[in-house]
Symmetry: C2
């Protein structure tokens, strides 16, 4: 579904979309740092944003754009979060939108704005302005790779995907780019992710589909439990595919919604796998819960436990830390009813830790991808959390990351 | 108040108490690993224990002993937590109490039991039995240092203190030993701490004084946000001081209660300062909250944030991570009303980060002890949290800690 060709096409894969990423000199290392995504055809827009009360200026602005229902462009930068920047930050975010609008021939409130990087410093607006103008010149169907690279910070690779489905005989395309990889935590609209599609869909349904997709994807990953000030997931749907407009929750909507979910889960998994300093990708399946929320709470307790994360980093067999986290998650459980498996092998059941084949377990723990099953046997609901381990490199990245 | 002489005297400082610590071969490194504290005179006993639903066998047993209202001894071991050990674990904990009771000439339900170390393995009961008998032989007024060393695991030093107050013309002595230093987190009765006093006090008042002291001490520290299966704080009061028994909440009770609080805060701070891999001791004062709980929640969000902790480890000036954690703490705040100070210097106010003297700030961040003030300006309540930073050594300790 997500071939390398698709990855390269990214957000410019759907009809009518172009993208660019340029060097504006905002990142100190001189890498690409300003991204632009554009559709001449007016797109329905939906967005979910950080629930952090200390939200960055671009988040406030983009919420207003989503409120208008339509947009033509997304402008984003890495290297400076434009958060905790007061009135000047708001003016700078507005200026970003205005410069993009002028270069593209649309209105300021047609432009979604996003920033990521260090909190508390001001955007260098002269560099920003030149960068946005440069990006507008460079917009192309091949620009998604650069756009993807322009929004990453401590990510070790850019996350992108694209795919297509058929609705009513028409090919509907989707493309997306996303970035992690610190300040990643649940119960919010996580990090930056920009999704494009040429589907024709009612804006309210688009927002609902995004909210549903976000709930089982970006809100189910955690790297360090820290919720960012800048998280934004935005989808633009420009209708260029010419499908019969999706206006009710029919099978077309289901198909659209499922695809959006698949894309969001795929990118969320990649963000977790590329968590700062990650050497492992951990999937935590919690089953037997009384509600989705309970299952998520149990899974998040395990996923955010530094002791569990360091044990997996060290490839140590330490199921005690997992059951310990389950026990303090705040969800009512009965210790003797809980069953925990690593890589399908029971490691905790009936209140004790059964003997395991040490060689087989060593192999499971040596894998990059490890599945942890936690059945709490209290009900029928389930949730899956994705996370990374906690390694020396997380400390290195975060003790030394200043800009 | 807590001199080195006092520290050495520890739990054997109050009249009528003796202590011992011996090598039983439970710790793989051959260090002291079985501790015994004894009072021939019957002591009122109070205890607070982990709220983790997966509580260890000794915790269940000790709660029963506290329920009887009196005790004569505490037996504890490090190197094995006797947690997730099912029926056999319960029998082993009972056996520990029985062996101690036989050696001391008291009843099994006169003996508090505690264990700390790896979760999921069974106690080597032959070694344990020999160790407890050995410890009973070695009980002395000089035994507290060994007892303190016998309960530590990844701690880099033993925590002990002692002091005295006067109540109604009588000298009342207090002594305590405690251990950390991983799986340390709020909202529970944290880690192991054993307190002795020769005060004569009603058992219900003793329990209330301990609960109050615990609330502002052990429940206000966090190292890694992980809540242990074995945390226990127990106080024995044997009445040997001969004071008029404290039976109401009079000024004598206040004096007693204040001293207990001071001891618990002192030991809690030392546990936080000796958190696994700690290179910094962070005090987070949250003021201007609508309630103590709100203040604590804001402080804990900062204290448990890996991004904040690594920034302090790296001596990086990064107030953005602190205001970010305040913003996602779940407590209602207004970003422009919050004032944050590092070492007394404002670093966030009016929604932005004011310019700071970089050299002065560098000096503040280079200190071992750093005070972070967070005034959320919403009300009049306050709370103080103690924590450590997050360093490479935390990873080393926990990725490699198996026994």
């Amino acid at each position: 579904m997500f071939s390398d060709k698709h990855k390269t096409a990214g957000v410019a894969y759907p009809q009518g979309f172009t993208a660019a990423g340029v060097r504006a000199g905002i990142k100190k290392n001189g890498n690409l740092d300003v991204a632009l995504i554009y559709t001449e055809r007016t797109a329905a827009v939906a967005g979910v944003f950080t629930q952090n009360l200390v939200a960055a200026a671009p988040v406030h602005l983009s919420k207003i754009v989503v409120g208008t229902g339509t947009a033509h462009a997304i402008v984003a930068n890495a290297g400076c979060a434009n958060a905790c920047t007061g009135e000047q930050g708001v003016r700078d975010a507005e200026k970003m939108a205005q410069v993009a609008a002028d270069a593209l021939g649309c209105r300021q409130d047609d432009v979604i704005v996003a920033s990521t990087g260090l909190i508390g410093s001001y955007l260098p607006m002269d560099k920003m302005e030149a960068g946005i103008k440069d990006a507008a010149q460079k917009l192309s169907k091949d620009g998604s790779v650069n756009a993807g690279n322009a929004i990453i910070t401590t990510d070790t690779y850019s996350k992108a995907c694209a795919t297509e489905i058929e609705i009513g005989g028409k090919e509907i395309r989707f493309g997306a780019i996303a970035k992690g990889s610190g300040m990643i935590c649940p119960s919010m609209a996580t990090m930056l992710c920009f999704i494009t599609t040429d589907a024709d869909i009612d804006q309210n349904l688009l927002q609902e589909a995004l909210r549903d997709a976000n709930k089982v994807s970006f809100n189910m990953i955690t790297v360090d439990g820290d919720m960012s000030t800048n998280d934004s997931v935005v989808v633009l749907a420009n209708g260029a595919a010419g499908n019969k407009k999706i206006v009710t929750k029919d099978t077309d909507y289901e198909k659209f919604s499922d695809t959006l979910k698949t894309i969001c889960i795929e990118l969320a998994k990649r963000i977790a796998a590329d968590g700062e300093g990650a050497t492992k990708f951990l999937t935590i399946n919690v089953t037997g819960a009384k509600s989705f929320e309970d299952a998520k709470q149990v899974g998040m307790a395990v996923a955010n436990s530094p002791l569990c994360k360091t044990a997996f980093f060290g490839e140590n067999f330490n199921p005690g830390r997992v059951i310990c986290a389950v026990g303090y998650s705040g969800v009512q459980i009965s210790p003797s009813e809980v069953v925990i498996k690593f890589g399908g092998v029971p490691v905790y059941a009936d209140g004790v830790m059964p003997d395991v084949d040490k060689d087989a377990m060593k192999k499971i723990l040596a894998e990059h991808d490890i599945v942890i099953d936690v059945d709490i046997n209290e009900g029928n609901d389930a949730a899956t959390i994705y996370t990374s381990d906690l390694s020396y490199r997380y400390i290195a990245v975060n003790a030394e990351y200043v800009s």
